[in-house]
Amino acid sequence: MLTSTYYAGQSFLHTTRPLFKVLALFLVCTLLFVFDTWFVLTPICLAVFGLYGIAGIPRSEILLALRPAFWMLLFIFIVQIYFESLQLASFVILRFVTMILAASLLTLTTKTSDLIAALEQFFNRFLPEHIAETISLAFSLCFRFIPLVRQTFDEVTEAQKARGHHKDWRALATPTIIRTLKSADEISQAIIARSVETSHLSAANERRDREHS
């Protein structure tokens, strides 16, 4: 389930720092909206296709990147032709295609782990230490929780089937949520018991304990 669409390679696109690529992506897409003309769109679109060539990404990946958006784009295209003109319809669609391909290029040339590491580095530099550590903890916990939630849901489904509740949302959702909430609290207890928490967090907990006692 947790597979990203990284496409290995050695091009400069693969080796550029992830945050720089993210910045460039936002800059390019902002340009596409600020200068809303063919004179800006056409060169950027060609440049994006050129970059796919430089990164050595095969054409099949381009189609794969566009596939999830296909029906939406077709719908917009038809609406635009019907109410406006073929020219406006093609402009809007080409702009979406360019943005989606530029964004997919970032995802294809950057490993998920590198992107998250870059983000954590960014937080470490610009946010107070305890907040940066909390964010890192949240990321790792999330990866741990995805299989846990899935497994809990499967167990609840089995149990409810045995009771004769088939595909009853209420019988599935509430027990799954409450059971995962309990697991989450056990995990927080375990983290606190092992003193993994940072100094400011233990200070906060001590203060809270004092208030409660």
Binding site: P68, I76, L106, C142, F145, L148, F153, I178, A184, A204
Partner: protein, 184 residues
């Protein structure tokens, strides 16, 4: 209490994971509308309604960061930066605000929370606010008049009403047996 405790961090991560698991549920494709109906907007309502405004919104930001980082966690195994540049990106950013508003309303109704008030909170945050962000976004990005973009989204409202009903049942049940939001 301004500080983020270990417990809140863990709960935020849990609801980001619940979003991911809901994304793996099969979509319900509806003929005639360009995007399928997904279970994920249920997760938005639950995050806000169970964790409250602040941590519900933060858990969705966490989820969206994981999606942006390239994990295919959105329904239909979509992920990566591309989803934030498509026509429906406004709905993704709108999730954060929607969860915040639902959380805010549930916190407000907390002492007399029932199915009706929870349902109302889910409709205001999860449908009205969410569409108020998502539809103008589509209209602007796709250069479609606002009215037409609105009619293109009407087909999703019945599904969202069902999700709001399910969410309100779960929110009230959790509030009774395992409350996370502190009463004020």
């Amino acid at each position: 209490m301004a500080e983020v405790t270990i417990r809140n961090t863990v709960l935020m991560a849990l609801f980001a994971a619940i979003m991911a698991v809901l994304g793996a549920f099969p979509n319900i494709p509806v003929p005639g509308i360009p995007a399928p109906i997904t279970a994920q907007s249920l997760g938005v309502m639950l995050a806000g309604g169970i964790l409250g405004a602040r941590y519900g919104a933060l858990s969705l930001i966490l989820f969206l960061i994981l999606v942006a980082a390239g994990l295919p966690l959105l329904s239909g195994a979509r992920g990566g930066f591309a989803v934030f540049f498509g026509a429906t990106a406004g709905f993704l950013f709108g999730w954060v605000i929607a969860a915040f508003v639902i959380g805010l309303l549930i916190e407000k109704f907390w002492n007399r929370l029932n199915y009706f008030s929870a349902f109302l909170a889910c409709i205001i945050g999860g449908i009205i606010i969410l569409y108020a962000i998502g539809i103008p976004w589509v209209a602007y990005a796709a250069k479609i008049p606002l009215g037409k973009a609105f009619w293109g989204s009407v087909a999703y409202i019945p599904g969202d009403l069902i999700k709001a009903a399910i969410a309100s049942v779960v929110i009230v049940a959790v509030a009774k047996s395992y409350p996370i939001i502190q009463s004020k």
